[in-house]
């Protein structure tokens, strides 16, 4: 149940773990993954920021204006990240944000190169709108998404001189996985994607027929005069594609150990001809592997942080800006700044010495700003248990229990230490 709230949700808020235990696993999964018609007060309370249209590009020699523009872009991308963390901390129905976070890591696009916060937000909104439905609609939106076209140089890929970047990464990282295509397929697919341009001020993209290669192209054995939409259909028709998408879902939601062949078949059957992401996810979470004690996942830094924010009823924007920015940078994960198009790693590479230090420092800032009354109000002898319950921790090891016990008289330090514990670094 803890896994369900941590992985399909974004971590329990006070009281939610008990409520879910009463409702049971299946009912909780169904409630989490079924869109509610009632407005979500957390969404209402966190409207997205709006950014002024970008100023005209300063001249090459106008260094002051160029610096000012860079500073403004950095500020806007920070505002956008803080807004999203606030949204993730506030929502009552966490599943749409959970999926959006998953797709942000899948179609990993960085503001470092895209620069325009409005375009980053529009991509984020498209992932939120389409992320729980038909993967085909999502993929077709992403392949001509303005931020994506800038990020992978799709804007400027022309019939006269194709640029392979978008075509290659769309096959390798977004739809098929490495090994299911040849270098020739990459070059042919790039021709199908020629001609797209981005209008930054309008936040739109459009195909310019003059710059589009009329084809025909041969991609993965299919020949036709392909464009972006029909190329996506060719890719998604490959048997490798459902398995690839299922594998990505599995790694982030279930286990580091790949599913066996029968499980993979069941997952791709659930995904089906409608490419149904929510059905795939429900199937993955319903497997015995999800409940297997061995299926422990390392929490990504943003998962760790959002779990803490929800438990402590703390909007990210209430943290000192330096603590938030320094904490995320120290942990190595800043929303809208994935390290590259492959997204962030999964697993043990997060468990470094530097991250251990960053967690304990971040934890101190979190307890200073957050609400720890459920622990402070507990009798001294019950505070370690109250802390474990507040943070949704599994049964504590004797090691951690005895390490925390001396802090019972100091609730902020007790909660900070528990946030930095090995138990809280993983989704056990």
């Amino acid at each position: 149940m803890r896994r369900l709230l941590q992985r399909v949700g974004l971590g329990p808020r006070p009281g939610e773990l008990d409520a879910a235990a009463t409702a049971g696993f299946d009912a909780t999964l169904a409630a989490l993954t079924t869109p509610s018609r009632a407005p979500d007060a957390g969404v209402v309370a966190t409207p997205p920021p709006s950014f002024p249209p970008p100023p005209p590009v300063p001249g090459k020699n106008d260094l002051a204006a160029r610096r000012a523009l860079l500073a403004q872009e950095a500020t806007q991308s920070r505002q956008l990240a803080i807004w999203w963390l606030d949204r993730m901390a506030a929502v009552e129905q966490p599943f749409p944000e959970r999926l959006t976070w998953f797709w942000h890591g899948h179609f990993a696009t960085s503001a470092q190169k895209v620069r325009f916060a409005t375009l980053m937000y529009e991509q984020n909104a498209a992932q939120r709108r389409l992320g729980g439905g038909d993967f085909r609609a999502l993929a077709q939106a992403m392949i001509v998404d303005p931020a994506m076209l800038i990020w992978l140089d799709g804007a400027g890929n022309t019939a006269a001189h194709p640029n392979e970047n978008l075509a290659r990464e769309f096959m390798e990282l977004f739809t098929l996985g490495v090994g299911d295509y040849t270098e020739t397929d990459v070059r042919q697919a790039a021709r199908a994607l020629t001609g797209w341009g981005v209008n930054v001020a309008a936040g739109t993209s459009a195909a310019e027929p003059r710059r589009h290669d009329p084809g025909p192209e041969t991609v993965l054995g299919a020949t036709g005069a392909f464009d972006a939409a029909s190329l996506v259909d060719v890719l998604l028709a490959r048997p490798a594609s459902p398995r690839f998408v299922a594998g990505r879902v599995w790694t982030r939601f279930v286990s580091d150990t790949p599913p066996d062949a029968a499980t993979l078949d069941a997952l791709t059957t659930a995904y089906g001809p409608g490419h149904d992401v929510t059905a795939l996810l429900r199937a993955a979470v319903g497997t015995p592997a999800f409940r297997d004690p061995a299926s422990v996942l390392v929490r990504q830094p943003v998962d760790w942080l959002v779990g803490a924010l929800r438990a402590l009823r703390l909007p990210a924007s209430k943290l000192p800006a330096a603590a938030l920015q320094g904490g995320l940078t120290g942990l190595g994960q800043v929303p809208f700044h994935p390290p590259n198009v492959g997204g962030w790693p999964a697993g043990a590479s997060w468990l470094t010495t530097a991250a251990a230090l960053a967690r304990v420092k971040f934890a101190q800032a979190l307890v200073t700003a957050g609400d720890i009354t459920p622990v402070a109000d507990a009798p001294v002898g019950g505070r370690v248990e109250a802390t474990a319950a507040l943070l949704g921790l599994p049964d504590l090891t004797a090691r951690t229990r005895s390490a925390l016990a001396p802090l019972a008289g100091n609730p902020p330090e007790l909660v900070a230490a528990a946030l930095a514990s090995p138990e809280n670094a993983v989704s056990a």
Partner: protein
């Protein structure tokens, strides 16, 4: 990026951390008692140290070590090529990118070697697969361990012997039983008092703990040891310790800031023998010339300042720096004044003990493999040379049999 997952060996884990942190947890020892028990001996003077610089994104080798006098180069890259008079002459018709003035001085001084045409059989054009191949040292099949992680495994399994200056561990430093430690660029100081004691105590192993949770615990103990051994060097607040201008806004810190910490660690004789630092942004599919020259200027400034500083100290003269990227780029430019993913590229090796000059044959610009350079040198031979001549380890232990070493060092 696909990342190798180091597998925890329970036996080694106990041997390593039970003595320190578990004692503290059980006996209520304070921070300073623990410090004494985990004291780390300094590196003996004269010990070789390897600094690996990873250039993420696929650095364009042909615009780094530039064949400017080759008409085929000029023809393939009409808007991207450097003219002969723009590059910094290296001889043999090659010149360094104009941004690399500091390394050109190293070349003139005879302390920079350039290994040309480096790749591996059947080069892979995926960033992630190719970087995995370079970091694991295994082109033939995926391996769960990095080449320097296996070196850690083979030489005593001490995570403090290989240090990353990024928060996320590069696969290169993940071994089967040991993973290198990662350091922050500043503030390697733990909380004091009861919170600090509780935090350290949570680094002890616990019965029945899952492998990832045990690794999280071990990272706390490794952090404690790293703080003892390296804290003073990392938290130095002297004038030279100010982060460089280029570090602002970049996760993980700029290359200059990373090398600043490395330099201080080396000068104070801290235990690591391997340091991993990096610079990203080399995936120049568009508007390559300005972007790459800016990055190479940052690289050059950071690396040449580091090399000059190292040459001035006894310990520093035993430091060898190696810089590589996961692939070079296509010979012909694309429509966006950029280049797509290619194959072979140069490796730079520098340091006071390095034998300057070219090693390996420059790939032909006309005899191509489907638009790509044909490699002339296997990167594993460069690794083998570093293992044998800098780290004093038999390369076969790390890379398997059959590698040769290259004439890259004077001694």
């Amino acid at each position: 990026m696909k990342t190798a997952v180091p597998i925890l060996s329970r036996r080694r884990f106990l041997a390593y951390s039970a003595g320190a942190a578990a004692v503290a947890a059980a006996g209520g020892l304070g921070w300073y008692d623990l410090a004494e028990r985990t004291r780390v001996d300094p590196l003996p003077p004269g010990t070789g140290v390897l600094v690996v610089v990873t250039l993420y994104g696929g650095n364009d080798g042909l615009n780094t070590v530039v064949p400017a006098s080759d008409s085929a180069y000029q023809a393939a890259r009409p808007h991207l090529a450097y003219a002969e008079h723009e590059v910094l002459d290296l001889g043999e018709g090659l010149g360094l990118n104009p941004g690399m003035t500091g390394l050109h001085q190293q070349w003139t001084a005879g302390t920079l070697a350039i290994v040309r045409g480096v790749s591996y059989p059947q080069p892979n054009h995926s960033h992630f697969r190719s970087m995995d191949i370079w970091q694991t040292g295994s082109p033939d099949r995926p391996l769960p361990t990095g080449w320097l992680g296996r070196w850690l495994d083979a030489t005593g399994a001490d995570p403090l012997k290989a240090i990353s200056l990024e928060p996320v561990l590069p696969p290169m430093l993940a071994g089967a039983t040991t993973a290198g430690a990662a350091l922050p660029l500043s503030g390697l100081v733990l909380p004091k008092g009861p919170l600090g004691n509780a935090f350290v105590a949570m680094g002890a192993p616990a019965d029945g703990e899952s492998a990832p949770q045990a690794m999280a615990a071990r990272a706390i103990t490794d952090l404690h040891r790293a703080t003892q051994a390296l804290g003073p060097a990392v938290t130095d607040t002297s004038a030279t310790a100010q982060p460089a201008e280029t570090t602002k806004g970049r996760a993980g810190g700029g290359l200059a800031a990373q090398l600043e910490v490395v330099a201080r660690c080396i000068e104070t004789g801290t235990p690591p023998r391997v340091y991993s630092v990096s610079l990203g942004g080399f995936d120049t599919h568009a508007d390559e010339r300005d972007t790459q020259q800016r990055l190479l200027t940052e690289f050059d400034g950071a690396v040449s300042a580091f090399l000059t500083r190292m040459a001035g100290t006894d310990r520093g003269r035993h430091v060898v720096l190696l810089a590589y990227s996961e692939f070079g780029r296509r010979v012909a430019a694309n429509a966006n004044q950029g280049t797509d993913h290619g194959t072979a590229g140069p490796i730079l090796v520098a340091g006071a003990g390095v034998k300057g000059g070219f090693v390996g044959r420059q790939p032909s610009l006309t005899d191509l493999d489907d638009g790509d350079l044909k490699p002339s040198t296997d990167f594993r031979d460069v690794y083998a040379t570093m293992l044998a001549n800098v780290l004093g380890t038999d390369p076969a232990q790390v890379l398997g049999p059959g590698r040769s070493t290259l004439p890259l060092l004077t001694a």
